[in-house]
Symmetry: C2
């Protein structure tokens, strides 16, 4: 496997087969997450794996309820504010941690969608899931075995991204 | 290559050989960066590659000047505030983008260190590099061919990271 090809071929998957993702695979996804870099190695990430009725509870808090209902599982990603020393750096570390999961998920033949819009209902979700106050929801990954073929995606030309 | 092993074996590298990283490799690192996911695919990342005297300018703005001087090149990563729609989500996207670079760098046999402390001098650095006001420095990667052997690193047990 070529890591650049893996990175370039990963796509958001929004529709999933009715097929279970095993506990072993979930453990490996979280293992990938756990080894992300963080400032001062503070590892601010915390995870909650949701399936079945608990998963579907979250469908009420997003315009993308179909993705949640179609997914086999969700991984909710939190920052533990007790571990924080700098919120900006923690958020970047969370992004690195999520990318580790997305790359592992793609390499394993699974698919995922990084849900961000759901954060608009952060407070309500934290209440319904009974999340302690030191944790703050930062993202939800919907995942499962992909239903459809690979979709195309676009990126800006590298020339437009480089500052001379 | 096993992506989980790649993720787990990546380490921060702080000392580098006096050996040039080719333009082709730098282009591939930025190609990996460019394909990260971002909210609404807004791709807020911008990059500046620094070498030689311009690289060494930054050594004055961090306690880790030795890493900067040892590195062959720096990649400064910015958010373009004109592309932003949500600063928290942009920071997570930047983290995903940086992790793509770090994984590619490691897979290519190179090494890198994600410098965060240097952000304490963000304003001064932006001034000395003459960065336009719409860009905000978020991280600096120091990179090159690694000098020393692989160091160990630790992570919290998965059990401590999972919320039931």
């Amino acid at each position: 496997m070529d890591v650049l090809q893996l990175i370039k071929k990963r796509r958001s998957v929004r529709k999933f087969k009715k097929k279970t993702v095993s506990k072993e695979v979930i453990d490996n996804i979280l293992e990938a997450a756990r080894w992300a870099p963080s400032g001062l190695n503070n590892q601010p990430w915390r995870f909650m794996v949701l399936e079945k009725e608990r998963k579907d509870l979250l469908a009420d808090y997003t315009h993308y309820s179909r993705i949640i209902k179609s997914a086999d599982k969700l991984i909710a990603v939190f920052i533990d504010k007790k571990s924080s020393y700098n919120h900006e750096k923690d958020l970047m570390a969370i992004g690195a941690c999520i990318q580790n999961m997305l790359l592992f998920i793609h390499a394993a033949g699974l698919g995922a969608c990084w849900l961000g819009e759901i954060l608009n209902k952060r407070k309500q979700i934290q209440k319904v899931l009974r999340i302690p106050e030191n944790l703050e929801l930062e993202a939800v990954l919907a995942l499962g075995w992909p239903e459809a073929g690979i979709k195309k995606s676009k990126r800006k030309d590298l020339k437009k991204l480089i500052i001379k």
